[in-house]
Subunit: 287 residues, 2 copies
C-alpha cells in the first residue's frame, strides 16, 4: 500500500490512473477504522482497479462543542488494517492543506440536510459535502463508498452528486454490526463498559419500529412512538431524535407507502450514537 | 461544429476525449455572443485539442427583478459565430435539465462575492459558482476561459477552483472593447442610440482612475472619488458603485501597493453596465 500525504501527489496519481483507463474506487473516512470501513474497501476492490482510502478528520463537519479534538486518531493501526484489507493507496491530508487561510467556498446542501442530524448539528452536512466534493476532485474516483449507518449523509451526498453532476457513482453498503446489534462506529471507542452494555438498545428500538411496520402500521408518528418507547426502557440513553421518514425525501408523510427509514440519535454519557433501519422496500433502493 | 443538447450526451463526448487524452478547452457563456466571447474561443483553440462552448442563460444568477426573461437569446446567430470561430462543440441545456424540481445543492462563495456586484445582486455569484461547478463536471475541461470584464466573477471562480481543488486551469482574457472604449457586453444590445453614445463614459471614468494611479495616487478613496467625478459628467448614468480595491482580496486597503482594480457598475436607463481596469502591476497577475 502506498501512502500519499499531499493533494498534489494524490492528484498526480489519479491523473496517471485515469490516463491508463484504470477504474478508481474511493473510500473517504475519518480514520479509527473498523469492519464497516473494511467492508467498503472490500467492495471497492471487487468493483475497480485501484482503491484509495482517505483518512482526514474534517474540522468543518464538527460543531464548536463537538468531539473534533478528542476524535480517535490512530494512523498506524488504521494503515495496518488497510494494508490487510488490500487498499492500494492511503491518502492523508491536514486541515492546513485542505483549508488554507484564504479558504471560503462551500458546498451547501439543501432541505435533505435540515432534519435529523442536520437539526442537531448545524453546519455538519455542509462540512461533509464540502470536504467530499474536494476529495472527489482530488481522487477523481469512478465509484465512492459510504456506509448506510450514516443514512442521511448518504442521501445528502447522492443529492450533491446528482445536483452538481459529479461524474461518479455512489455505493451505499449495509451497516456492519456487533453480534448484539450495535452498529460499528468509531465513536463506540468512547463508551465505558457500562455504556457499551446499554448501547444495543438503540438498534433494538429501531428494530421495534420495523416490527410494527411489518405488522402493517404505516403512521410515521405511531411507528416513531413505538421506537421511542422501546428506547426509554434503557435509562442510560438520552434521546436526541428517533423519527420515521420517507427514505428518499426525508419528509414525514401522513402515512408511509411501501417503505421508509427509521433513524435515531441518542447519547450515552457524552457519546452520541446514530443508527437507522430501512423499512419495507426501502432496502431495495440502496446503492 | 457539433451541437449537443443534453448533459448525458455532453458527458459521453467528454469521457471519450478524456480516454483519448485530448485536451479540452471550455468557454461557458449565456449566449448573445460578441467578439469578447470569440477571443475566448480563439484562445481555447490555440491551447487545446477540442473546444466546447456552452450557451445557457442561467436563471440562478439572476435576481427576481433582473433581466432573466428579456436577456437576449439568438441561438442560431450564436451558432453561426461559433462555427466561424472554430468551436468544436456547442453545448446547450435547459433550466429544466440543469435544475430539476429536486435540485437543492449549491456552491456558496465566500467574502470575495460580497462587495461590488455581490452587494448589488444578492445571490448572483452563488448562481454563477453553482452553474459553473456543474458545467465543469459535465464538460470535464482542462482549461476554462472567462473575460476580464467580469473581474469579480473571475476572482470568485478562481477561488472556487482553488478551494474545492477542481482539476483544471482558469484563463482570464483581457476585455474586448469598441473603438470608443465601451466594453463589449451582451447587454449593450439593450442600449438606445442615445444611451450607446453616453456609454463610453464608464470606461473613461475608470481610465481617469488609472491616470491618477499612474500619477502616484495610492488612496483607494481618492482614486474612486476621481472616477466618480468623471462619471458624473455624464447625466445619463446612474451610479451603482465605482470602487478601487485590492485585485486579489477585493478588500479596500488604506493604501494600494503596486496594483489594484478599479471596478464600476452603473445604469443607463434600465441597463446595468459593468467594467473595470487593472491598476499598476495587477495586469501581470491575470490568468
Amino acid at each position: 500500500m502506498r501512502r500519499v500525504d499531499s493533494i498534489a501527489a494524490m492528484r498526480e496519481l489519479a491523473r496517471g490512473w485515469r490516463a491508463q483507463s484504470k477504474r478508481i474506487g474511493f473510500v473517504p473516512t475519518m480514520g479509527a477504522l473498523h469492519a464497516g470501513h473494511r467492508s467498503l474497501v472490500g467492495q471497492a476492490k471487487r468493483d475497480g482497479d485501484v482503491t484509495v482510502v482517505s483518512i482526514f478528520v474534517n474540522p468543518l463537519q464538527f460543531g464548536p462543542n463537538e468531539d473534533f479534538t478528542r476524535y480517535p486518531r490512530d494512523l498506524e493501526a488504521d494503515a495496518r488494517q488497510l494494508e490487510e484489507a488490500g487498499a492500494d493507496v492511503l491518502f492523508t491530508s491536514t486541515p492546513g492543506e485542505m483549508y488554507p487561510p484564504s479558504f471560503q467556498t462551500h458546498v451547501e446542501p439543501g432541505p435533505l440536510a435540515e432534519p435529523l442530524c442536520g437539526a442537531s448539528r448545524p453546519g455538519h452536512f455542509r462540512g461533509v459535502t464540502t470536504v467530499v466534493a474536494k476529495l472527489f476532485h482530488v481522487v477523481a474516483p469512478h465509484q465512492a463508498y459510504f456506509g448506510q449507518k450514516d443514512f442521511q449523509q448518504a442521501r445528502v451526498l447522492q443529492q450533491m452528486v446528482d445536483d452538481l453532476a459529479f461524474d461518479l457513482k455512489l455505493r451505499i453498503l449495509p451497516t456492519v454490526r456487533e453480534s448484539d446489534g450495535l452498529a460499528l462506529s468509531s465513536r463506540n471507542r468512547y463508551l465505558s463498559a457500562e455504556e457499551r452494555k446499554a448501547a444495543p438498545t438503540l438498534h433494538a428500538a429501531l428494530q421495534a419500529v420495523r416490527e410494527e411496520f411489518d405488522r402493517g402500521e404505516r403512521s410515521p408518528a405511531r411507528l416513531a412512538a413505538a421506537g421511542r418507547e422501546r428506547l426509554a426502557r434503557s435509562a442510560a440513553f438520552r434521546l436526541d431524535y428517533l423519527e420515521v421518514r420517507d427514505d428518499a425525501t426525508l419528509a414525514i408523510p401522513e402515512r408511509l407507502a411501501a417503505g421508509g427509514v427509521a433513524a435515531a440519535a441518542a447519547f450515552l454519557g457524552r457519546t452520541r450514537l446514530i443508527d437507522n433501519v430501512l423499512l419495507g422496500d426501502a432496502t431495495r433502493r440502496l446503492g
